[in-house]
Amino acid sequence: MAEVILEDVVKAYSKTEVIHGISTTIADGEFIVIVGPSGCGKSTVLRMIAGLEKITGGIIRIDGQVVNKLEPKDRDIAMVFQNYALYPHMTVFNNMAYGLKLRKFGKDEIKQRVDQAAQLLQLEGLLDRKPRQLSGGQRQRVAMGRCIVREPKVFLFDEPLSNLDAKLRVQMRLELRKLHERLKVTSIYVTHDQVEAMTLGDRLIVINEGAAEQIGSPLELYEKPGTKFVAGFIGSPAMNFMDAHISRDGQWALMQGDIRLALANGGVPRFGGQQVIIGIRPEHFKIIVKGPQSMLLTVDHTEILGADTTVYGRFADTPGLITIRLPDIHHFKSETILPLSVAQAKIHIFDRETGARI
């Protein structure tokens, strides 16, 4: 167990910089999720912490020790790979014991640790099997076991659930969370799946194009996204964005089609008259009785999911479809007009140039 500190970590391949200086402190025992779209560099960050990629600039500390020049084996970390990377010719027992054997643990100690991990992961009956005789979920657990037996300071996960089918993924997600609650080992988890990120992480690091967009707890990211990118990335279906401008007194956001949205907390007088982007999450729209303040949505099509219904439509002449999510089942014909409103506090405003939250 240990703190992991990243200080202005940079990665460049020859001349191309792919990670532009990430700094954060991961507390002892914390479960942190690095999340971002594919190709954003999140795996690279993890691999630098693991020691599989050289660190071009900055410092990484694990438990106070600078590990920049250390080999992976000397960093006291363990990693779960996306494709598990189990040794195909070894039994489950040997897969888990290999790291311990190389570290010259005694036979009894190895057996005891592996048995313990096997029990924890419900792998007891499978210790003599080869990886190819296991199901996806079982392989996943063996990969976990290989990490657990080492009792490392830090667990690293590189999209460990993305090769599993949807149902198993939900189940393993829960198991991972439980496991972390039992073991309390500092964990760094990379994923592109924001549901995994929201449910697993104590805190999230959202990475976009090699830079950390925002670091915070899942709810913080959901309720107060720091940038338009984070707002669009966290939450499903994704947040709706609409061009608007702020009224002179900063109390109203004015959109095309004469839609006026009153702003909460005294508005944003400093930004009066500016062009902005308004963000509203699909689940924050409510159907109301038609009135002067209502936004009128013309339904394009609906997707009925049972628990809730996703409606796609347009406000007057805004470009692109607006998504709204309504609980329960609704049948709307296309071209139906729905009067909607949004709670003031649920309106997010972003700078049109920088994408930063206003």
Partner: protein
């Protein structure tokens, strides 16, 4: 595609049986010839059914020696061939595993240069470089011993290239997992890479063993000591009986014996051999 059509079945079986007959007929003749006595083998027409002399011939082959090669025992020649073929096959596998490992997993200057240098040796088989190679082997005092028989044949671009391809299919994560587990390069090589390429090694062993066993020109060139003759050379010499007619029954018996070790290797390793050539999942 699984189909069940009588005509297709018949045709494919006919083709297969025909091909097997082409291959098997000479072997059958060898076997028949090895089971008759010397007199019968000088008469025409040649027999097509086995005789009753098989075990007598077998005994004679080992105890008397044959034709021009009478001074060397067939047993010793078989042993020489076996040692040479084993040394070549094992040596080739070790060398090419190591060089492929170096080329795939290490970043050193002129890495691709070395790879292509190895690759270019494909154009230089023994027959092409036979004089300089002989010179080198002679100067190193390796004439008439097993080292001289096998070492010049050990370097193998084909095997290196094959292992390179095999190693390239091994997922990088396996290496990374091993690094995190604490394995150094040689540990990884020994504990992970070789077991993972086990079937490919077996497949290559079969091919290389037969290659080594069938060597004729090179042993002929560097062995003058009769105790170092190999079986393939021996058979040729048995034919060169000066005054008398060749002892076909014994020569054919020796041929049968010479066929045996490659067959044992192929049959024994058949399962691994096929897996090694067809298996793609690592």
């Amino acid at each position: 595609m699984v189909e069940n059509r009588p005509l297709t079945n018949f045709c494919s079986h006919a083709v297969l049986i025909f091909a097997i007959a082409i291959i098997a007929f000479p072997i059958w003749i060898t076997f028949v010839a090895a089971s008759h006595d010397a007199v019968r083998m000088t008469q025409t027409p040649l027999p097509l059914l086995p005789g009753d002399q098989f075990f007598i011939n077998l005994k004679d082959t080992f105890t008397q020696g044959v034709g021009n090669a009478r001074e060397q025992s067939v047993g010793l020649m078989l042993m020489n061939s076996l040692i040479m073929a084993m040394m070549i096959a094992v040596g080739k596998i070790i060398i090419s595993l190591l060089s492929a490992f170096a080329i795939v997993y290490f970043r050193f200057p002129f890495r691709m240069g070395f790879f292509w240098m190895i690759f270019v040796t494909l154009m230089l088989p023994v027959e092409v470089r036979i004089l300089p190679t002989f010179e080198v082997v002679a100067n190193l005092g390796m004439l008439n011993n097993y080292w001289g028989l096998s070492i010049p044949l050990i370097a193998s671009a084909t095997a290196t290239f094959m292992f390179r391809q095999v190693f390239l299919t091994v997922p990088d994560e396996l290496l990374e997992a091993a690094r995190i587990d604490g394995a150094g390069p040689m540990r990884f090589f020994k504990d992970i890479l070789i077991p993972v390429s086990r079937t490919n090694i077996a497949a290559l062993f079969v091919i290389l063993f037969i290659y080594g066993w069938n060597q004729y020109l090179w042993p002929l060139l560097i062995t003058t000591d009769k105790n170092m003759y190999t079986i393939v050379m021996g058979i040729k010499q048995m034919l060169e009986a000066a005054e008398e007619s060749p002892e076909w029954h014994l020569i054919m018996m020796t041929t049968l014996l010479a066929m045996l070790p490659p067959i044992v290797v192929v049959v024994g390793m058949q399962k691994l051999f096929i897996k090694g050539l067809t298996e793609t999942e690592k």
